[in-house]
Each structure stands twice: as structure tokens, then as C-alpha cells.
Amino acid sequence: MKVFVHDAAKCCGCYQCQISCKDEHCSNDWTPYAKPQPLTGQFWGKLNEYVIGTVPKVRMYYISQRCNHCDNPSCIPACPVEAIYKRDDGLVIIDPAKCTGCKLCIDACQYESIYYNEGLNIAQKCTGCAHILDRGWPITEPRCVDACPNECLMFGEESGFSTQITQGEVLNPELGTEPRHYYLNIPKKFIGGTVYDPVTEEVVIGATCTLSGDKTATVTTDDFGDFWFEGLAAGSFSVKIESGGKVKTIDNISTEKDVNLGDIALS
């Protein structure tokens, strides 16, 4: 049984996964696996980008999404003509010959991974490049995986990815569809800031910063006076900053979004 794994820590956001999917599927007819994808507007493989924080504590990360090829998919039971089937290798395929374009599967998939092709009147999505896997040529992986320069998008037998599956997560597990697409290192929320002494106009290095609230942690500021609390869930926190007998406390920090507390004068 196959799985996809995407490691956000190694993804540089080049969109090769998204582009190579189009290169494979736009204007190419892989019947009976898939009909051509429209030139634009459909994203069987989709890269989503996220900008977090505020100037200057800003970061980005990317999530490469596609059909999760769920073990308990909502699309298969939704299809009235049994056009969607799961292969022995776990890939979920919409048979373009059987599909009647009723769009029920599009409505059923809460991951929004299925697209409607108006010209062909069919529903379409990622096939895992099953046509390539089945013939084993010219590559042995889906195009998106083959095109990934940093090897952060991976595909293969479940048994070969036991570590990643253990450490990783699936998107929205609460939906209960049992996705076969795992993610590593999706950042959680952060609280960061820079501590400086307004009199000397110097950063404060080695200040003790204590996080309290929904989680507790202690870090010290680095040689830029920066501190970072990372891996936080959404919640409410306080940060206490101490150095040389001076103390500053910042309360009511909400991590609904990532938080840059800015340059903090410790006086």
C-alpha cells in the first residue's frame, strides 16, 4: 500500500510538484486512468503557502497537497455510479469513462481535492500517476515526487516510511477518512521577540524568558537579543523577561496567529 509524505522543513516552495502534475496531465490523455486536466485552474497537486509572523520575525512554510487516497474515503460512497474505486496499492481513481459529472464526490471530499472539468463533464483529481507506476517507465514515482528537487515530497510503500508515518501527521484526522498522505514538520505557532536596553541601546543577551499559560517553557535570548517559543498550540500565554534585576511581563498573548512581540525595551 502506497503513501505520500511531505516534509515541510525541507520544502523550498518551488511549486515543482504543482507544475509537474500539470505537465503530466494537462493536454495528455491517460485514459483509462484520467482524462486531461484543464490548462489552468485545477490543482490535482497543489502547493499552499503560508506567511507567519510580522516584520521582522516572519517565516514561511509550504504544504504540498493532493488527493489523500484515503482508506476510508468519502468520495467512493458518494458516487452513485461506482465510478470511483480504490486500487490494491491504495490509490483512489475516478474512472473517467464511468463518471457522469454529478459532482457529488466533489461535495463529499472535505479536503477539496476533486475538481470539476466542465468541458469534459467529469470529476478529476490526482491519480498518483498510476499510469506511470503501472508501466514503470520512464520513472517509477508520481511526477510530483520525481520533480521535487529537495526530496521533501516522497512516495512509496508504507513499510518504507514507518518512521515518517510515526512522526508525521495527516491533515484533519478528525474527519476520519484515514488519509494515506503524511506530513512532517508542519510548524505550530510561535511567540518571538527581541529584548534591548533602551538606555545603552544594546540588545540584552542571555535574558531569561519564561513562558506560562497553556504551556510553560524557559529560553534565553541569543546574541541578537532574540527569543523564540516554538511549537505552540493556539492558546493564551504570558511571557516574563528577566535580566540584571529588571523584569518585564507581557500578558494575554493569543497564539491564534504567530506572535512577534517586537523589540521589547527592558528597563
Binding site: 520544502c11 523550498c12 516552495g13 518551488c14 511549486y15 515543482q16 507544475i19 500539470k22 505537465d23 503530466e24 494537462c26 493536454s27 495528455n28 490523455d29 491517460w30 485514459t31 483509462p32 486512468y33 482524462k35 486531461p36 486536466q37 484543464p38 490548462l39 489552468t40 485552474g41 485545477q42 503557502e49 506567511v51 509572523g53 516584520v55 521582522p56 516572519v58 517565516r59 514561511m60 469513462a97 472539468n117 466542465e118 468541458g119 469534459l120 499510469h131 508501466r135 517507465w137 520512464p138 520513472i139 511526477r143 520525481d146 520533480a147 528537487p149 529537495n150 527581541t194 534591548y196 541601546e201 544594546e202 540588545v203 543577551i205 546574541d223 541578537f224 537579543g225 532574540d226 523589540d263
Partner: protein, 970 residues
């Protein structure tokens, strides 16, 4: 048919993604027959067609398959075939089980063709159409190939076994089949040859349309115009400008092959050559005009030449400052290696600190810290760092004593003895936008750790106004920390061992050999070209002025010319030579990529002194619209060639033709051959060699001809080589200077590092914009003798309060690739306006946008006193406040030619001036401007007053279209 046409020309409302449009032929697997225009705009399908083609490539396919597509009687295809350029309605293809004797088309193999387009890739082809473009697995034809490895700090780097193809080239199928491809030779409808001002209608260039002509008519006219120009003005009446950034070709040579021909033909026939438009050091301006006077480095255009930097940085650096550079963008023309190396450096624990006005694409992913700095103000930050080191004595005083001259003068300036101003962090902070405490912290991190600084071509620091100052100061700071020792370098990139020259024997037909192998052969035979002082040249940065207001004078610091030439005045027209009356160019980027003074820069094409403008290019874009004759050029996928490539492996490839020529296009080389034929110089120019002969000859002279047979490389498509044994032990070139400066002098007058430049002091002692010792130069009003006033504290900032970076685009390759549908739909590539038009993004900080009532996605006008371009707001915390960003290279789409551009070409805001008073370098980024949301009334007024501009055929997916500019049945 007429109805269809009307639909095309009124397609202003944006099609929703996935909606049926006239490009629905792309959706289906339909057969498209576009008359004589077969191919363009056609990413058509494969297996639904009833084309009978025997599949012959079976060598790497697990099952040997020889079948005919559609021949098994299993495919029923209903197609509607329509005329040129029109919609093809949906094709209904029903494929039944393939039955015995055949397999389903999906499982049939394609033929693999190797192409080297930065880097090497595989292109699969079936039925004469490109199926896919994908990375090459280096071991696919060499199963025994093992990845090379490299150890540092107890960790192992393993070479990647796939070519690191960038999105620019893996989306290239869209470019090859772009609806903007030029299909046949074109002539402007209201231009007539002969040079009569009443008949050339120069004023209509960029406004009037084109009509189809035959190759014979085109080349006959061109040859007669060339001869007429020479008769009237001499050879210097002809101007040729090759542009960089076309495709990588060898024999077919996308760059300057016309120049090679003209040199060869004119020198041998007339003993005099044409007027050449020559580049400034473009991507290296600040280094070439500045740092070169400090530390020489002639061959690196003023930058330390990389030498085994993978080893040096991996083993010796603690901190890498990436200053004014976006490696996850600027390097993509070549490969994706920077990201791969950055992941490795982080694994080693090396800190990457990015100093840029924006959180650029590399910083967003790789930065341990981002320090935002206002454009054009880096020198203030650098001087405050030097000040901190001087006060805290945290620099290498002994090294300065033995390796440099003039440091006392620099101290005088920094410590305020020269001008009464101490360059303290508190002084710098309000200028550069970095808090004083962060400046001090940066100074100490730099001094306390082994630190290198990374720049690559065209970073913001290198191409702003007065860019020689930050690039000199950059070198000053490195020198103060003992530049040249292990780990203390200016790094242009993390070069792999192949790029560092530590490979096996290099391949002669290098990918960057601009004029190709054929021209090498010619060089051995032709009359030598005179030195530039004895012929007519125009520096690219002064092109507009040269055409409009000759004569002009400037200092001749052309690209790759020695430092001393920056003190030599060049004149155009040179003594005894004519001004230019005919222009010929290839792979143009003049309108979109170069500066030359805002929207008005196009006036150059409307000057009646320019009697004939000829361009050759695959796509109808950039300056093509301003020409009189346009010749259609192939992409390299339509050509047979030989090429080399290097990322983790060095390759030599024999590039088979993937597809037949689209339309009537020919390669750049073949275009020139056709012109040579009409000038009765075909045999001399071709040397009697066919393209096949030259490819074979190229192989025989490749230095690799003994490593593989001709037959075998043709069979395999490529030869791959790892780095040479012992490459790791090669030391950096600058180490010798560090160890013994007397025995290993630099290319400066003193042979040492010159804090006070001897050359500048001798030649320009009173230049306040590039003084002998590097300064922070803010500029100011023209009446006070300043070339630029592009500072937030200056006069112009009152009207134009944002500093706009006009940097390298991530989703284009400079002026190229703006029509690739799969790149354009990426969220940071274009912004879809309410009118459905895909606007070029104008990046704004959240606060700056809010202050102007601008929301993400709003259509905005971006303007200053030089022009107005429209753009879509992209509001982001990736910009520091006070700074906006508009990437260069978007194709202009004029609403009012020379005044208002809907395409969002950043060139419309650029200054007519150059780097500084005595340095005619390109000034490409860091301009004051303002952004406003376009009101409904304003847009309505433009639509009412300029209906033609708004009714031009436009394709939301790929933008401008060929048929928008061509009369008759396109």
C-alpha cells in the same frame, strides 16, 4: 468564424479557473489543426488522436512494445477540427479495452530526447508532440554510476542523482506551445523599406500592427536594407544588440549569432564593422564599478571568484550573511542547487542571516534571522558596523597593516574626523531602518564568528543607485576580518565542485558560450575585430540617449573590460563612424528588463533616425512590438544541437530534435543563414558545414571525444562525469594573498587592498558620488550636483514616499517566460484583478497598504515622474514598511504607449540616469514611487479613451497573444 473572432477580441472578463474558454482545446485530447500555424498555442493531447505513428523507442521500456496509436481499433474519436487560432470544442474520446495485439495508449511509451536547458533534462515525445519535461536521472543510462559524497563536521553530503531542474524549465511546454509564438515572418503594416521618413512611420512603432510576409520577402528586404544602410552610412550605421537570457544553445546560438555574422562578413568585405550595443557589468554593477577599485578581481567583475566554496563554507564558516540576494530565485535560471546546499549548511549548524528589504524567497525558508534594511542605505549599516569594530578593536589590525593601503583615510571618515559625523549605529539607524541595538549585535556576531558574505548576480545592493559604495564597503568589512583566510570570503554562491572548476576536463561547447561553437570556428578564420576604441560602441545603459541625443560620452567600463578602462572616455558616434540607422536584435529584453528611463524609454523606437528595426525571437514580446520586421525563431526543442550542462554532475549531450518547428520558425543560426544567403555570403558563413556536420565537429572538439564513441553518445543521449579525484583539497585562490600579499598581489595599482583607491583618487579626486574612500551617498537635488535623489529623506520622497525594489522575478527568467500559464497562476506570480486581468504584483507592507486604503488584490497604479504602470496589490509582512516591490520583466501592455502600462513592467519607473556621475552602469532597483488604488472612474475613463488597448485579444492564462498584433488571418 466571424463570431468566433469577435468573441476573442472582447474577452475582457476573466474566465474563472476551470471554466470553459476558447482554450478548451487544451482541456481535451482533441486533434487541433491550425492551418499553417500548426503548433502554436497548442498543448494538444496525445492518445485520443488517430495518428498512425510507429513507436520506435523501446530500449528502456520494460516490455518491448511496437504498436500503432489508435491502430488497435480500440479508440473511437470524435473531433471537431476548426480553423486557425480558434476554439476547438470538446473532443469526446471513448477508449475501450485495447484488446489483444495492443496496449492502452496510456501505457505506451514515448521517445526520450535529452535537452540541456539549465540543467539537463529529459523530454518525452509522442506523435510529434511533447508529452513531458522532467529531470534526468543521471544513472538512467549509466546504471553503475554511484553518487559522490563529501564529508564535513562529521556529516556526509551526498550528490543528488537527478538533475535539479527548476520550475522555469519544467513548465516550458507552455512556453514552447505559447499562443504568443511568432509563427511566420512579419512586417509592420505601415513601414516601407528605403529610409524615407514619410514611409517608415517611426512614430507608429509600438502602435501599428503587423502582417504576414514570406521568408523570401523578409530576407530580401533585410538584405537590401542592410546594403542600403551601408551605402548611405557605412557599416557603423547598422547596430546589433544581442541580449542575454535566451535559451541555452550551441550551434543555434540564441544570443548574438547575428553579431557574429556581421563581424565576419563586414570585416572581410568592408574592413570595418557594425555598431555594437555592449553590456555594462549589469548583474555586477556595484562590484565592477566599486569593489574592483578596492581588491581588483578583474575576472570576477570585481567579485572574489568562487573556488571550492562548498568545502570552504561547509568546513570553516559559522555565519553566512546573505546580503541583498535571493538565492531561491536568482539561481533558478541554472538549477535548484542553492536550496539543496542551504539544507546541508543548516544541517551543519551554520547560521544563515539574510539582510534584505524583503523577506525574500530564500530568507523565508532558510533564514535563521532576517534583518530588514531600506534599499540604497546598506552603506550606512556597513559604516556603523565598521565604527563598532574600530571602537571595540574587534578587527584584524595586523592584517590591515600588511595587506592594505589607505585605511587611515577610511578611519577618518568613519570616526568623523573627515566630516564631523561619527558613523555610529545611532547615526545609521534612522537612515537604514535597522535599530541601533540590532546593528551593534550584527557587528559583534560578524566579528565574533567566522563569517562570509554571500551575493550572487543582481542582488539589490549591486544594481541600485551608487551601488559601487555598498559593494566596496562590503569588501572593506571582509578585509577588516582578514579576508582570504579560510571561511572569510565573498561567496557568490555555494558552488558545487563542478562549477568550481574542479571537475574533469571541461567541455568545450560550454552552455554559456554565447556565440556558439560555429562562431569559434569563424574566429579562427575571420579578420580580427578591432579593439573597441577603434570602432563604434553603445553602452546599453546609454542606449536611449545615444539614439535620441547623439553624440554622447561616457567612461567605458564595459562588461569584462579591465579596471583602467573605467577611466577612458568613449564617444558615440566614435571618430569617423556614423550614428545608427538600422537596428537588429535577438532575444530582446530591452523594453522590460533594462532601465533607460521609465515609460518614455520607448521613444527610442519612435525616432525617425531609426530607419529599420529588425528583431528575431520566438515570442511576440518585449521590443518586438516596436520593430519593422520580425523573424520567427525556434525553441531549442525544435533544434538538433550539442550542449553541456553542470549541476551535481557535468554532462555532454547530443540534443535530438524533439518536435518539428512551430509555424515557419527557424533557429537563430538558420535565420542568419537565410540573410547571409541574400547577401551572397552563405557559403563563407556556413563554412560549407551543415548543422549535422557542426554537431559532430562539436563533439570531436569537446575534450570528451575520447571518453565515449560518437555512436554511443548518440545512443545514450548524454555522457555524465563526476568531479575529479581530490577536488576537496583544492584551496581558495584568495588564501595565497592572505598568506603572502607581496608574492600574490591583487589587480590594484598597489597590489594591496585599497581603502583609498589610488585609481579613483588619480582620476576622480573630487567625485562626491564615488569618492576615493567609500562613503554613504544619499544623493540629493540635481541643482546641488547629485545624479540621484532616491532616498526617503530626500525631496522627491515628498511626492513619492515608497522605495520600490525592482528585482529579479521568481516566476520568470528576467524578461522571459511571462506567458507560462502554470507559472502565472502561482499566487505570488500574478494578481487577478476584478476585471479578470492578471496584473503584475505590487508588494506592499501591511501598514503601507492600510495607510492607502489598499487591500490585497486591488488594482493599483504604481507611479512616479517617469511613468505609471498598473499592478495588483500583494499585501504582505514579507515587505518592510516603506518599501514596495515590483519584479522586472513583465511584458508591457500599453494603454497609452510610453505613458501608461497595464502589463506592470518595472522598467516604467526606472531612472534615465545611470549608477553615478562617472559610472555608466545600469541602475535597476531602488526607486521612489507611490502606489494608489485605481478608482472606478479612472479605469472607466481609460477604457473609454483607449478602447483598442482594452480590446486587444488577451488570454488570462498566458497573457498577450500573437494575434493581438497581427492583421489578417492569424
Amino acid at each position: 468564424m466571424k463570431e468566433e473572432k469577435e468573441k476573442l477580441t472582447s474577452n475582457e472578463e476573466g474566465k474563472q479557473a476551470g471554466e470553459v474558454s476558447r482554450r478548451d482545446f487544451l482541456v481535451g485530447a482533441g486533434t487541433v489543426v491550425v492551418g499553417t500555424a500548426v503548433g502554436a498555442g497548442m498543448l494538444s493531447g496525445c492518445s485520443g488522436e488517430t495518428v498512425t505513428t510507429t513507436v520506435t523507442s523501446t530500449k528502456t521500456v520494460p516490455t518491448t512494445v511496437t504498436t500503432t496509436v489508435g491502430g488497435a481499433g480500440a479508440t473511437v474519436t470524435e473531433t471537431k477540427t476548426v480553423g486557425a487560432g480558434e476554439t476547438v470544442t470538446m473532443t469526446k474520446t471513448v477508449t475501450t479495452d485495447s484488446g489483444s495485439g495492443g496496449i492502452t495508449p496510456a501505457l505506451e511509451p514515448e521517445e526520450t530526447v535529452i535537452k540541456c536547458q539549465s540543467p539537463i533534462n529529459c523530454t518525452e515525445v509522442k506523435n510529434g508532440k511533447i508529452v513531458r519535461i522532467r529531470p534526468l536521472h543521471y544513472d538512467s543510462e549509466y546504471p553503475d554510476l554511484q553518487p559522490w559524497t563529501y564529508q564535513a563536521r562529521g556529516k556526509t553530503f551526498t550528490a543528488y542523482m537527478k538533475s535539479s531542474l527548476s520550475p522555469h524549465w519544467s513548465s516550458y511546454k507552455c512556453r514552447i506551445y505559447s499562443p504568443n509564438r511568432i509563427l511566420y515572418p512579419l512586417k509592420r503594416v505601415d513601414w516601407e523599406p528605403g529610409g524615407d521618413p514619410a514611409k517608415i512611420n517611426a512614430q507608429n512603432r509600438g502602435r501599428s500592427k503587423f502582417k504576414r510576409i514570406s521568408w523570401d520577402e523578409a530576407t530580401t528586404t533585410i538584405a537590401s536594407e542592410i546594403k542600403r544602410t551601408i551605402d548611405a552610412y557605412g557599416p557603423s550605421g547598422i547596430c546589433f544588440a544581442g541580449a542575454p537570457h535566451g535559451e541555452t544553445k550551441t550551434i543555434h546560438s540564441a544570443h548574438n549569432v547575428g553579431a557574429a555574422f556581421l563581424h565576419y562578413w563586414l570585416m572581410n568585405t568592408y574592413g570595418e564593422t557594425f555598431t555594437e550595443v555592449i553590456d555594462t557589468p549589469v548583474s555586477w554593477e556595484g562590484s565592477a564599478w566599486g569593489a574592483k577599485h578596492f581588491w581588483g578581481h578583474e575576472s570576477g567583475l570585481g567579485e572574489e571568484k568562487p573556488s571550492n566554496t562548498l568545502v570552504d563554507v561547509s568546513e570553516n564558516c559559522d555565519v553566512l550573511l546573505v546580503w541583498g540576494e535571493d538565492n531561491e530565485c536568482n539561481q533558478w535560471r541554472s538549477n535548484m542547487q542553492y536550496g539543496q546546499f542551504a539544507l546541508w549548511l543548516k544541517e551543519l549548524g551554520i547560521r544563515l542571516i539574510y539582510i534584505n528589504p524583503d523577506l525574500n524567497n530564500a530568507a523565508a525558508i532558510h533564514a535563521n534571522k532576517w534583518i530588514p534594511v531600506l534599499p540604497n542605505t546598506d552603506p550606512a549599516l556597513q559604516l556603523a558596523i565598521a565604527y563598532t569594530w574600530m571602537k571595540e578593536e574587534t578587527y584584524d589590525r595586523d592584517y590591515i597593516d600588511t595587506h592594505s593601503v589607505g585605511f587611515d583615510k577610511f578611519e577618518d571618515y568613519v570616526l568623523g574626523r573627515e566630516d564631523g559625523i561619527e558613523k555610529t549605529p545611532a547615526w545609521a539607524a534612522p537612515i537604514c531602518g535597522v535599530p541601533a541595538w540590532t546593528i551593534k549585535a550584527l557587528a559583534r556576531v560578524y566579528a565574533n564568528n567566522i563569517t562570509s558574505v554571500m551575493h550572487r548576480h543582481g542582488g539589490g545592493m549591486k544594481t541600485g543607485c551608487y551601488s559601487h559604495e555598498p559593494m566596496r564597503l562590503n569588501a572593506y568589512l571582509l578585509a577588516m576580518q582578514g579576508w582570504g583566510q579560510s571561511g572569510v570570503h565573498q561567496v557568490s554562491n555555494i558552488d558545487n565542485p563542478l562549477a568550481s572548476g574542479a571537475s574533469l576536463t571541461s567541455v568545450t561547447t560550454t552552455a554559456y558560450e554565447e556565440r556558439g561553437f560555429h562562431c569559434q570556428l569563424l574566429r579562427q578564420q575571420g579578420t580580427p575585430i578591432p579593439p573597441y576604441t577603434d570602432r563604434n560602441m553603445i553602452m546599453r545603459s546609454r542606449f536611449t540617449e545615444a539614439i535620441l541625443n547623439p553624440p554622447i560620452e561616457y567612461y567605458a567600463g564595459y562588461i569584462r573590460m579591465p579596471r583602467a578602462d573605467q577611466f577612458v572616455k568613449a564617444t558615440y558616434p566614435n571618430d569617423g563612424f556614423s550614428r545608427v540607422h538600422m537596428f537588429w536584435g535577438d532575444a530582446p529584453c530591452i523594453s522590460t528588463q533594462c532601465s533607460n528611463g521609465g515609460c518614455a524609454r520607448n521613444a527610442v523606437w519612435n525616432d525617425s533616425s531609426m530607419e529599420f528595426v529588425l528583431l528575431q525571437h520566438p515570442w511576440l514580446e518585449d521590443a518586438c512590438m516596436f520593430s519593422d520586421i520580425i523573424l520567427p525563431v525556434n525553441t531549442k526543442w525544435e533544434e538538433y544541437d550539442i550542449c553541456s550542462s553542470a549541476d551535481f554532475w557535468r554532462c555532454l549531450a547530443i540534443e535530438k530534435k524533439a518536435i518539428e518547428s512551430i509555424g515557419e520558425s527557424k533557429s537563430d543560426y538558420e535565420v542568419v543563414c537565410e540573410i547571409a544567403r541574400k547577401l551572397d555570403y552563405y557559403d563563407e558563413w556556413t563554412l560549407g558545414l551543415s548543422v549535422d556536420d557542426m554537431v559532430k565537429k562539436g563533439f570531436e572538439n569537446s575534450n570528451w571525444q575520447d571518453k565515449i564513441s560518437w555512436d554511443e553518445i548518440n545512443e545514450k543521449g548524454y555522457l555524465v562525469q563526476p568531479p575529479a579525484d581530490g577536488w576537496e583539497s583544492r584551496t581558495t585562490a584568495s588564501l595565497k594573498f592572505y598568506q603572502n600579499p607581496q608574492a600574490n598581489p591583487l589587480q590594484t595599482p598597489s597590489g594591496l587592498l585599497e581603502f583609498e583607491s589610488i585609481g579613483l583618487k588619480e582620476n576622480f579626486p573630487d567625485d562626491k558620488e564615488r569618492p576615493p574612500v567609500a562613503h554613504y551617498v544619499a544623493g540629493g537635488p540635481e541643482e546641488d550636483g547629485w545624479t540621484h535623489d532616491e532616498s526617503l529623506s530626500g525631496q522627491r520622497a515628498k511626492d513619492y514616499p515608497l522605495l520600490c525594489m525592482i528585482g529579479n522575478p521568481r516566476w520568470r527568467y528576467h524578461a522571459q517566460l511571462d506567458d507560462i500559464a502554470w507559472l502565472r497562476e502561482i499566487p505570488t506570480a500574478k494578481v487577478k484583478g476584478y476585471d479578470g486581468y492578471l496584473y503584475e504584483p505590487i508588494w506592499l507592507n501591511t501598514a503601507d497598504a492600510a495607510a492607502r486604503g489598499i487591500q490585497n488584490g486591488d488594482i493599483c497604479k504604481v507611479y512616479n515622474d517617469r511613468g505609471t504602470v498598473l499592478a495588483g496589490a500583494l499585501v504582505s509582512e514579507r515587505m518592510m514598511p516603506g518599501v514596495a516591490m515590483l519584479k522586472h520583466g513583465a511584458r508591457p501592455d500599453w494603454i497609452i504607449p510610453g505613458v501608461l502600462d497595464r502589463g506592470g513592467s518595472g522598467g516604467g519607473l526606472t531612472s534615465p540616469k545611470w549608477t553615478s556621475i562617472n559610472t555608466p552602469g545600469q541602475y535597476l532597483t531602488g526607486f521612489l514611487m507611490e502606489v494608489q488604488k485605481v478608482s472606478g472612474d479612472e479605469m472607466y475613463g481609460w477604457r473609454r479613451d483607449y478602447p483598442d488597448a482594452f480590446n486587444r485579444p488577451y488570454d488570462p492564462a498566458s497573457g498577450l497573444r500573437f494575434d493581438a498584433w497581427v492583421e489578417g488571418d492569424a
